[in-house]
């Protein structure tokens, strides 16, 4: 099976996010009031061949722990789904 994977990496709760707070401070000057809690992350997308969804998830979780995130400061959210119409 082939899976479309998206890993969203963001700073852990409690870790200061200077990019997020800078963007948040800029918003009122553009007329956007009422925005709070801005956090900046990154999105990593790829395709993965695996036996089934559980195996795919386990592999992506290990990839996140060992490479795609720094667990000291970052968390990740994984979404994956089977590629539509893949052979």
């Amino acid at each position: 099976m082939t899976y479309e994977v998206q890993v969203e990496v963001h700073l852990r709760a409690g870790v200061a996010d200077p990019q997020g707070s800078t963007i948040e401070r800029a918003m009122p000057t553009l007329g956007f009031d009422g925005v709070s809690g801005v956090r900046v992350g990154k999105s990593i997308r790829f395709r993965l061949d695996a036996a089934d969804e559980a195996a795919a998830l386990a592999e992506v979780e290990e990839l996140c722990a060992r490479f795609l995130t720094n667990p000291v400061i970052e968390d990740s959210v994984i979404t994956l789904h089977e590629t539509a119409g893949a052979s």
Binding site: L11, V15, A16, P18, Q19, T22, F67, L68, N70, V72, I73
Partner: protein, 224 residues
């Protein structure tokens, strides 16, 4: 036969020649080590220099830690050999798990490039044996991601074991505990954000970094 200090070169490293120049100016012998080689040869100490290893893609140090040379660097450290990571090299050593914690973007998203006053907190590390506790050194810093952070438990352990080696007198980047340099439990692996190689001779504006690199040379076998 002077002690040989191996200086690791990744694609994107840019301080390796400065480090070799400083090491040789202080009586050691420098040797560049290409990251794609899985050996460090017979060097007595290793420096992971500053720069942007592998373009800092993903995160600073994230890809460099998987370079073939890093297994040999880890083995050298495990055998008690001195290893010092400067700036980007510090980031590489934390990513490789050789030092605890992480270096995140500076507080206020401020890139800092200026002389920094550093206080020597411990002389029990391969980078500080020739210094004295409380001594203040003027050494340049030049980084965007030098804001040292770690868990509360790690910070408590670093303090209890006196593994905080250097602190900033005037914190320039938001680092927890004003930390500028730490060492591992064996005290033979040190990471620091400031650049001692850019202050090894008074002609550079400060010669205060020399005591740090001289300590490394002593650890590498040069007589004190």
């Amino acid at each position: 036969m002077p002690a040989t200090v191996g200086v690791v070169v990744f694609p994107g490293s840019n301080c390796e020649h400065d480090v070799v120049e400083a090491i040789e100016g202080l009586g050691g012998s420098g040797r560049l080590l290409w990251h794609g080689e899985a050996t460090v040869g017979d060097v007595d100490a290793i420096v992971v220099p500053g720069g942007f290893a592998h373009g800092d893609y993903l995160r600073p140090g994230a890809i460099a830690r998987f370079s073939p040379v890093m297994e040999a660097v880890v083995a050298h450290a495990a055998a008690g050999g001195p290893v010092v990571g400067i700036c980007n090299g510090f980031q590489v050593l934390t990513e490789a798990g050789m030092l605890p914690g992480a270096l995140q973007k500076n507080a206020g998203l401020k890139f800092v490039c200026e002389p920094a006053a550093l206080r020597v907190e411990s002389t029990e590390s391969v980078l500080t044996t020739e210094a004295t506790v409380g001594q203040v050194l003027q050494v340049p810093i030049n980084h965007f991601e030098g804001n040292y952070t770690c868990s509360a438990e790690t910070l408590a352990a670093l303090r209890a074991d006196e593994r905080i080696v250097l602190t900033y007198v005037d914190n320039p980047n938001g680092s927890v505990g004003d930390i500028a340099a730490i060492c591992n439990e064996g005290r033979n692996v040190v990471g620091l954000m400031p650049h001692p190689e850019r202050a090894y001779h008074p002609l550079l504006g400060s010669g205060d970094g020399a005591v740090l690199l001289r300590s490394l040379l002593v650890a590498a076998g040069v007589p004190a």
